[in-house]
């Protein structure tokens, strides 16, 4: 059979495509739920209309996203059984439990309260309605945690034993699966990156409107909220990334060696900024390096030894038998760099934005004409430079809106491909995980069908987002400003038209 179209290759491509696509929506959903909840809280506390308008604006974009996140999530659950049935048989005893927890604890929560939030504007008192969006937010975070615990088990299996008679891995310590350091640091890293994503999304869209001098009040608020989110989340992403990296150096030395294109172990080991190598012969032909930095990243010590790809490959051959235990090295090397590069550029932009829009620079009295004056970012209070630079900041901020999404995607591609040829590191190889009974034609069909469907939906989604982004925050109605005081809506307006629904 042509290797390029082998069911294993197709199933891997399908998993990659559907997962990366699903993960475009997940981080936005997680962060926008919390940010929308924050804005709605501000409205309930201050009763300022700009917060309600901002809530409805970001809430709408959040809903457009979560719709796609939810439906593409169903595919994820189904394809373990469809394409990876031998994986499911082998690890179901362990891997299935966090999935069931996710469904019973997080999904039900999320999906029930989102219905209440969408349709509850004129049915629930203010504070209960607010509680609903917070419930959704908690649901999204719990859901992420269970999935990341399940994935972490694939990266670093713990709390299990192999049952030879049944030919499978069995759970011995569920608590260990949920709380091992891989799961904790991966959740920390992924969740902070999710907030970096939502923050950059908010900053980008606010910048778009501010550049056009529209919806100033709401967008100024959103810009500040977005910038603060980007900076805090960016910092946490970097810290957690470092933590996760150190965990990985211990647990998956091959992945990290590949991420650095470090062929042979060194003491101290350099961090490579650029590398071009010969995979077959196992060395780099060109490399630009910072001495000692990799040792520090791996071990907090500039002089310690870091094993290279060739060393780990030999060690694994001795342990697991003959074979090639190297992942795709260029993908790991560049995926790792793109993840860091795109993520950290957003962080830098957020930092710059936050500094440039400090209160005293944001809208200096002497530059303010009317209430809705566009905020100029006054660099060093330089009146001549500022009007030239400000539009550039808005433009760059709008362009870089998608940077964290790119970083997230490469982060996952690196994490998952860096683990190859293992599906469960050191326990089960990917080629032993596919469904033996599923034909090449079936996998090919589903890959074509799902990929084309995803492509069509992507176009629809982006167009719809663009439409609502351009439209800006909605006008408020009487009903919006006077929510009911009791559950189920007020009896006096039983025949009132529904305000917020499909």
């Amino acid at each position: 059979m042509d290797l390029a179209l082998a069911p294993e290759t197709l199933a891997r491509w399908q998993f990659g495509i559907t997962t990366v696509y699903h993960f475009l929506f997940v981080p936005l959903t997680i962060s926008l739920a919390a940010l929308t909840a924050g804005l709605q809280t501000a409205w309930v506390r201050t009763e300022k209309e700009k917060y309600l308008r901002a809530t409805k604006f970001w809430g709408k974009l959040f809903l457009i996203n979560i719709a796609m996140g939810v439906v593409t999530g169903i595919v994820q659950e189904f394809q373990f059984g469809m394409n990876w049935s031998d994986y499911s048989r082998f690890v179901g005893d362990i891997f299935g439990a966090p999935l069931a927890f996710e469904a019973l604890i997080a999904f039900f929560f999320e999906s029930t309260f989102i219905g209440l939030w969408i349709f509850g504007w004129d049915k629930l008192p203010k504070k209960i309605h607010l509680a609903c969006i917070w419930m959704v937010s908690i649901g999204t975070i719990l859901s992420a945690y269970f999935i990341l615990a399940a994935n972490s088990w694939m990266q670093h299996p713990v709390g299990y034993k192999i049952n030879k008679a049944k030919g499978r891995a069995e759970l011995t310590d569920f608590w260990a699966v949920l709380t091992q350091n891989t799961a904790l640091s991966q959740a920390f890293h992924t969740l902070s990156a999710a907030f970096l994503t939502g923050g950059a999304f908010m900053v980008g869209i606010a910048a778009y409107h501010l550049a056009r001098k529209k919806h100033i009040r709401e967008m100024k608020t959103s810009l500040r909220l977005g910038l603060v989110t980007v900076v805090i989340a960016g910092l946490l992403t970097a810290i957690s990334g470092d933590t996760l990296g150190k965990v990985m150096f211990k647990q998956q030395p091959m992945k990290m060696a590949a991420a650095e294109a470090l062929w042979d172990g060194q003491k101290p080991a350099p961090f490579s900024i650029f590398a071009y190598g010969d995979v077959e012969r196992g060395h780099n032909t060109v490399a630009i390096e910072i001495p000692g930095l990799l040792s520090f990243l791996a071990d907090d010590d500039f002089t310690s030894y870091v094993p290279g790809i060739n060393d780990v490959n030999k060690a694994e051959q001795q342990k697991f038998g003959p074979g090639d235990y190297r992942p795709n090295i260029p993908v790991a090397f560049w995926g790792f760099r793109w993840m860091i590069g795109f993520g950290m550029s957003s962080f830098a932009l957020g930092l710059a934005g936050l500094w440039l829009t400090r209160k005293k620079f944001m809208l200096p009295q002497h530059l303010r004409v009317g209430e809705d004056e566009v905020p100029h970012l006054v660099l060093f209070k330089n009146k001549a430079l500022s009007p030239k630079l400000t539009p550039w900041y808005w433009r760059i901020a709008t362009w870089t809106l998608a940077f964290p999404l790119i970083a997230n995607s490469w982060g996952w591609i690196f994490t998952e491909m860096g683990r190859q040829p293992w599906v469960v590191y050191g326990v089960l190889q990917t080629r032993h995980a596919v469904s033996p009974g599923v034909s090449q034609g079936e996998v090919l069909t589903s890959m074509i069908v799902l990929t084309s469907l995803y492509a069509i939906l992507a176009v629809v989604e982006v167009k719809l987002l663009a439409k609502y982004v351009k439209a800006g925050p909605p006008e408020l109605t009487e009903a919006d400003l006077n929510p009911p005081t009791k559950i189920g809506g007020d009896t006096r307006d039983a025949d009132k038209p529904m305000a917020f629904s499909y």
Partner: protein, 339 residues
């Protein structure tokens, strides 16, 4: 009762919950073409399930996740074996979810009509295919000694399973019509009741045929009781519907679904997926289940989480307990400009 038996029951409960709940929202989706005459009416129908369909669908995800965790081999055989039908169901569920959320996000009539057509087909097709899938699970399929499904997709489309598909399709449509009568006011409510009678009579015929066939093939005393309950509840639902007792009619169409699913699982036990090639190769609650430790953790989870889920999902239905009609659809909203 051992833990794997408990989990067999719990998975039956999850599927029952799924068919009870998503059953009526599939039904309402089908009625958007069968019952609604214009855009405001279609929107009324969609709004009756708007706040709840997403929560209903999670019952499926939970049934899937629980099967994965409690019976990995069942999950693996079922999902890899029923590959293409599941792909079709997946595509439907994706398009359906997006259709509900995106339909009113643009005012153009074309845009909305396309999503409405999508809602109709993506409700109808899974409503049919779930019956086909369960028909095959109960009857048994070609499973080899390694628990692999070795039949083709055509083997899944046998007369018994196709009849099962008709049962779920008509039963869910009936359940949805009764639900619509319960949740609406005005003309649409009257017509929903009339339609419920017609669909209900068809349902009675196909359901009776399918359940008797099941009983003859793999039934026992207990499944016979469930069969009688299902048929009696369906008849009572039709009577209640005729007398305009919509709450009773809906509860009874719900009982019909519960009893029918119970009957299928009763006739399945202790198998979870029989092999038609060799009885020794059948997947059973013992040979397909997870380890006792995993089942114990899952039991704790279910014991704590399930009552909570029922509580807050129930609360949702209570919050949105009012009937709605075309007068509740603002004129601009009927044209689509939901803000």
């Amino acid at each position: 009762m051992e833990l794997h038996d408990v989990w067999f029951v719990l998975i039956a409960v999850l599927w029952t919950g799924y068919f009870f709940l998503e059953g009526f929202d599939f039904g309402v989706g089908i009625l958007t073409k069968l019952l609604a005459r214009n855009r405001p009416e279609r929107r009324v129908l969609i709004n009756t399930i708007g706040p709840v369909w997403d929560g209903n669908e999670v019952w499926l995800l939970t049934a899937g996740g629980a099967t994965f965790a409690a019976f990995p081999d069942w999950y693996a055989t079922l999902f890899s074996g029923f590959y293409l039908p599941l792909l079709v169901i997946l595509v439907c569920l994706i398009v359906r979810g997006v259709a509900f959320e995106y339909r009113a996000k643009r005012p153009e009539e074309n845009w909305q009509r396309n999503w409405e057509t999508a809602i109709f087909w993506t409700s109808l097709i899974p409503a049919f295919l779930w019956g086909v899938a369960f028909g095959n699970i109960v009857w048994g399929v070609k499973i080899d000694r390694h628990f692999e499904y070795v039949g083709s997709v055509w083997d899944l489309l046998n007369p018994y399973a196709l009849l099962g598909g008709l049962v779920t399709l008509t039963l869910f449509t009936f359940h949805g019509a009764v639900f619509t009568a319960l949740k609406t006011v005005g003309d649409i409510r009257v017509r929903a009741r009339k339609l419920a009678l017609r669909v209900g009579l068809v349902t009675a015929v196909v359901a009776l045929g399918f359940l008797l066939w099941t009983q003859a093939h793999s039934g026992d005393g207990k499944s016979l009781v469930a069969l009688v309950v299902a048929v009696a509840a369906l008849a009572a639902a039709l009577v209640a519907n005729q007398f305009g007792r919509e709450g009773w009619a809906f509860a009874l169409s719900g009982v019909t679904i519960v009893a029918a699913v119970a009957m299928l699982f009763l006739s399945l036990f202790p198998n979870v997926m029989p092999s038609t090639l060799n009885g020794d190769w059948s997947l059973t609650v013992t040979n397909a289940s997870s380890s006792p430790y995993t089942l114990k953790i899952m039991t704790w989870l279910a014991a704590i989480a399930t009552p909570l889920v029922l509580l807050y999902q129930g609360w949702t239905y209570w919050v949105f307990r009012k009937r709605i009609g075309t007068q509740h659809i603002a004129p601009d909203a009927a044209a689509g400009a939901a803000h």
